[in-house]
Symmetry: C2
Subunit: 320 residues, 2 copies
């Protein structure tokens, strides 16, 4: 019997892992922090309320006795998560969580890391998992320390540990304070989308693929860090121009009008050899397909709320 | 006004920092976990009971409003601290502690690290602070992660941070489950002191000197990691033979009768350039002087309890 607890299960990635985990044969226990997420009547997932920052998770794990843990919960408020002291609370909460999991007999821990663990000034074209890790941000420091601590915790209890380092992700229902969602929403609303010069190279992966990679990671025996990314270097400018073209809104794009963030790396692209070779996992869609899917979701969402302008607002809105 | 909180203040190092901190002009607030330590009537230190693993330290810091924090408390049970899961609880407790300190307005954090943070297989003769850090033990992993986290916490609040990496220490009243104290006690009791071959090179510093270095570190503006050590490479065999000669008990020494610990490094010696040059700090006694002091303490202690044998037991015991 494979029984997995997913933390952050109502979040951007977590919510998209649940069906895949069920398909992979897991009994799925989803942990959410506060308000119960909306779900279908035929939902085979068991939901549990536990605020990991405030409640001891040990009683919950003692009842569930999971074999696997997929720990995705973290502080993620756009614009604030890079520097917030909340990151340190999540380090402590993660230690207590994994301790509770191991004490209840768990055998495999998988957590979510980040490309912010790497040294952004290294100048390396494609970051492999053993590239230098000198985080420039509080978020990166906290995630890197958590990875090292959780690995040692798991090892000490004879459990296996893997850590998916997520690069840039996007997809339906993303917070519009983030680049891709914000650009799409602005363009749909007939507003100007203000961007930096956009020559930075990034590695984008659709959230459903990020979730799919985590499902595969949980259901494998692979140990250590694994980049969760596409491996494709794409200029940010090309992504926003792709979006603008798809929405026939290129005139609304204002490239180069805002400065880059200080300390922002020129290139942040993953070497995905481990993901592709050891885990035999590949993205299920191209960036173009992923962006189309995401734009479609936003068109439905904005039309339903009367925010889409001009031709975009008229072409057959379907209620969200 | 310089006002320092010392955690682990009743411990092996902590108890020896207090007088030095007072001399350096600090108002000293000493935190102990449980039973109040014995102290003289003229003690100018203010003692506070707070179990950092169980109690929120925020109210205490809100009352004291210290400018400086010297965080020495940690799990240190000989033989167990290398691998214990208690180390992870101390990571979380340290994060909560430093958060409380910074929230109360503190400006400088100093903590105790360890030579176990370094890569023991590096083969480097003298480990400088930027030597590779790939800890082989849970204790080393936890201390290394704590250093990185506390540095980021302090930086985020505009406070300074330093981290004293302690190598091997010894001195009066050390736990006899540790090498030097155990050897001295066995020889005084007329027992055989069983050792490994003892060709490992170590870096020993008397606990009063370790404490003195931490006082200097707290009272400086130096940032980052600083090795707290002698810089002298000494074979373990030479140390125990020195002890045996001093006690005229060389026949009781059984060298090479127990195997080395698996994974034990051949050499573990500090480069003390930062300590000596930037902090301008030097040990106040040689290894010979430090061992004499320690042996004297144990002779008093064992004689007072009637455990010293033969000539050692007769030569003018002074009650401890």
């Amino acid at each position: 019997m494979k029984r997995v607890v997913v933390t952050g299960a109502s979040g951007f990635i977590g919510s998209r892992t649940l069906a895949g985990l069920v398909s992979a044969g897991f009994e799925v226990h989803a942990v959410h922090a506060s308000a119960a997420p909306a779900r279908a009547a035929d939902d085979v997932v068991t939901w549990h309320q536990c605020d990991l920052l405030a409640q001891d998770p040990a009683p919950l794990f003692g009842r569930i006795k999971p074999t696997h843990l997929l720990h995705l919960a973290w502080y993620a408020e756009p614009g604030r998560f890079w520097t917030s002291a909340e990151n340190f609370r999540w380090v402590a909460a993660s230690l207590a969580l994994v301790r509770a999991f191991l004490d209840s007999g768990g055998i495999r821990v998988v957590g979510a890391g980040t490309c912010a663990e790497y040294d952004w000034s290294s100048g390396i074209d494609r970051l492999s998992e053993d590239a230098p890790r000198i985080p420039a941000t509080v978020y990166g420091v906290a995630k890197k320390a958590t990875a090292e601590l959780l690995a040692a915790q798991a090892r000490g209890a004879g459990a296996t540990f893997a850590w998916g380092r997520v690069f840039h992700l996007y997809g339906p229902a993303e917070d519009p304070r983030r680049l891709i969602a914000g650009t799409i929403r602005s363009l749909i609303r007939g507003e100007t989308a203000r961007c930096s010069s956009g020559d930075q190279l990034r590695d984008f992966l659709h959230v459903d693929d990020v979730a799919g990679a985590f499902v595969r990671l949980v259901d494998s025996a692979i140990a250590g860090a694994v980049n969760v990314a596409s491996g494709d270097a794409v200029a940010v400018r090309d992504v926003v121009q792709l979006i603008a073209r798809r929405l026939d809104a290129e005139s609304q794009l204002a490239l180069g009008v805002i400065p880059k963030q200080p300390g922002e790396p020129q290139s942040l692209v993953a070497d995905v050899t481990r993901l592709a070779t050891e885990l035999q996992w590949h993205p299920s869609r191209s960036l173009e397909q992923g962006l189309s899917d995401t734009i479609g979701w936003w068109l439905d969402f904005e039309r339903a709320r009367g925010h889409a302008t001009g031709a975009l607002g008229r072409e057959g809105a379907s209620p969200a």
